[in-house]
């Protein structure tokens, strides 16, 4: 008795699946069950629910306009992620290489936007990008442009605003990945005769790949689903998937089509995430091998 009790208490590396049960139950009730309802709903052929079939999917996938909305949404995510990566990587690098004071200062600046609501941040961008906004006022006073540029309700405006709004999601994983890189590796690379660029391309960048993949995945998922920023900065005629979904579900009360749109969107996003995941696995092998 005493011996077996002792043995059980020693086994600290094992874990008990039952501990995860409350959370699993919560997910089953409030995530999996509604998702199942959504899938079922998407196979109704009309709003009355009298007939079943794949009409909604055929309607979406056979329609160039709908496919265009999907493509432009996925492409928007690529652009925002690229901008976040290009601007976020140097910040994360600076964070990893700075002393404690500067480090916490950078972290504060990165986290600060997360402390305000996304609506507030987006409205700030309306003020910045408007005809009488900061950008146009500066350009006009410098004499670079004669009439105000149209920045609001344009693709450029949406990408810029989204990149700022989602930047923390890119910088945080990058900062973690970069701070794990042993500074001696850089020194070693230089001693062995590599220049700064070669050290960057052959040592630092590959080692930061897990952070790049994690950050990109978060930024991508967040930017393609950012309903508020997309509609406030993009306006009524730049249609992305979240707005399309809202229009069908809420304004038109066409729930079966809205359900089909969300399932298609979900699958498209899962496909992109799988690509990122595969890259992530490859990069781990690359970084350690």
């Amino acid at each position: 008795m005493a011996a077996s009790g002792l043995r059980r208490s020693i086994d600290v590396s094992g874990y008990d699946l039952r501990l995860a049960m409350p959370l699993a139950g919560f997910f089953a009730a409030f995530f999996l069950a509604p998702l199942a309802v959504l899938v079922v709903l998407s196979f109704q052929t009309d709003t009355t629910g009298a007939h079943w079939g794949v009409t909604q999917y055929v309607q979406f996938l056979g329609d160039a306009f709908s496919l265009g909305v999907l493509a432009s949404t996925l492409w928007l995510g690529v652009k925002v992620t690229a901008v976040c990566l290009v601007f976020g990587w140097p910040v994360a690098w600076l964070h990893a290489r700075s002393g404690p004071t500067v480090k916490s200062l950078i972290m504060l600046i990165v986290l600060l936007p997360l402390l305000t609501s996304v609506v507030v941040r987006t409205f700030a961008w309306i003020v910045i990008l408007g005809r009488q906004g900061i950008v146009n006022a500066t350009l006009m006073s410098l004499g670079l442009v004669e009439a105000p540029l149209k920045l609001l309700y344009t693709d450029l405006g949406v990408v810029t605003a989204l990149a700022q709004v989602q930047m923390p999601l890119m910088v945080l994983p990058l900062a973690t990945a970069l701070s794990r890189i042993d500074p001696n590796l850089v020194a070693a690379s230089e001693v062995l005769g590599a220049g700064e660029w070669r050290t960057f391309a052959k040592v630092i960048l590959p080692l930061s790949l897990p952070g790049i993949v994690a950050g990109s995945m978060l930024t991508y998922a967040a930017s393609i689903t950012a309903f508020i920023t997309q509609s406030l900065i993009g306006g009524g005629q730049m249609l992305f998937m979240p707005m399309y979904l809202y229009q069908q579900a809420s304004t038109l009360q066409n729930w079966p089509f809205a359900a089909a749109i969300s399932i298609i969107f979900l699958i498209a996003v899962l496909a992109v995430v799988t690509v990122f995941n595969t890259l992530g696995r490859l990069s781990r092998g690359f970084a350690q091998g």
Binding site: F65, Q132, Y153, S231, L232, G236, L239, Q247, S250, L252
Partner: protein, 347 residues
């Protein structure tokens, strides 16, 4: 025997009942009124709710502001035990709610005020306690001569200065129907409006996602003229934004905002009394004053203030100056129009 497990079960059950008081089904709940968000909620909280509570021995009432479409979705999801007792609707969604059998007919014969409403507001499925009015909004600092007609939006001097909204909103759809009518179309034929919007493109600075976004475009100087809601403009004006409202000579578009008792509501009597309060001349007269400026529908209310100045002096004048649209016809094709607007109107 009191085992640890039994004790835990009891504690959990008690805890759950504490956390979700709705678990005991038979419990009475206060009257729930789903008004609209923003200025509507403010006006109803400040005027309608106190009047209702005063007349009904401080009856409990909860305001749960949300969009028309969300009200329909919520009631639809729990038809037998709806979470809302009184709904407020724009004309399009009102017909959807009636079509889906979500509303109780208004007990007209019991009502003290129904017969005093102007004809257009006497609707048996749910009367209209207020009108919403859509006309032209412009920035008086940029536009010195006030516009007089919808056709002014097409004037070449407004190149790149005009804002509109897409057809998702009641305002956007109503505006398009009015434009269609101007060029020989109707509630059933929107084609002339699409042709006209095609010609408006050089003037268009923005197609906003919703009427609220138009307000921020005025504030940012992004646009100088647009179709606009009378009440929304008053709020902007009060905040010091340079905007003015004019009713075009073709007539301002009037939307009936209707109020409905929800089918299967457990609080039907109180719901009726709340609607009576909303129809009463006292409440309507107070809501007509600044800062609310809500257009009354009870003929016993004498038009005054900004409304008398800008919109109509009295009920007869109102009937002459307001244009009502046939939303039963509009609803038949609205989904297709919204799709078409998505596809065709690209800036």
């Amino acid at each position: 025997m009191l085992t640890r497990r039994r004790l835990l079960e009891t504690a959990l059950t008690l805890g759950a009942m504490q956390a979700f008081p709705g678990l005991s089904l038979a419990q009475a709940r206060p009257l729930v009124f789903a008004t609209f968000t923003g200025s509507w909620e403010e006006a109803h909280k400040a005027v309608l709710v106190p009047a209702f509570r005063k007349a009904n021995a401080d009856a409990q009432i909860v305001l749960d502001p949300m969009l028309s479409v969300d009200q329909i979705a919520k009631v639809n999801a729990a038809r037998a035990n709806p979470p809302i007792d009184v709904m407020l609707h724009d004309p399009g969604p009102a017909l959807v709610a009636i079509g889906q059998d979500l509303v109780e007919p208004y007990p007209v014969e019991k009502s003290a005020y129904f017969k005093d409403l102007i004809g257009e507001a006497q609707i048996a499925s749910g009367p209209a306690p207020f009108f919403q009015v859509v006309g032209l909004t412009y920035n008086p600092e940029a536009i010195k001569t006030p516009p007089t007609s919808w056709a002014d939006l097409w004037k070449p001097e407004f190149k790149g200065r005009v804002g509109i909204t897409n057809m998702n909103s009641t305002l956007g759809t109503g505006f398009m129907v009015e434009i269609a009518k101007m060029y020989g179309g109707s509630e059933a034929n929107i084609d002339p409006a699409f042709a006209a919007i095609e010609k408006l493109k050089p003037n268009l600075a923005a197609v906003a996602a919703n009427p609220g976004a138009l307000a921020s475009l005025f504030q940012q100087g992004q646009i100088d003229i647009s179709p606009g809601n009378f009440n929304a403009i008053q709020i902007l004006k009060a905040r010091g934004v340079p905007v003015e409202f004019v009713a075009p000579k073709e007539g301002a578009i009037a939307f009936k905002t209707t109020i409905h008792i929800v089918k299967n509501s457990p609080n039907k009597d109180l719901a009726f009394k709340l609607i009576e309060a909303a129809l009463s001349p006292e409440v309507q007269a107070t809501l007509m004053e600044a800062p609310y400026l809500i257009v009354p529908t009870n003929t016993k209310v004498k038009m005054a203030g900004e409304i008398a100045k800008v919109l109509a002096k009295d009920t007869d004048d109102l009937k002459k100056k307001f244009v009502f649209q046939d939303w039963a016809k509009i609803n038949q094709q609205r989904a297709a129009w919204i799709e078409r607007f998505n596809r065709d109107i690209k800036l």
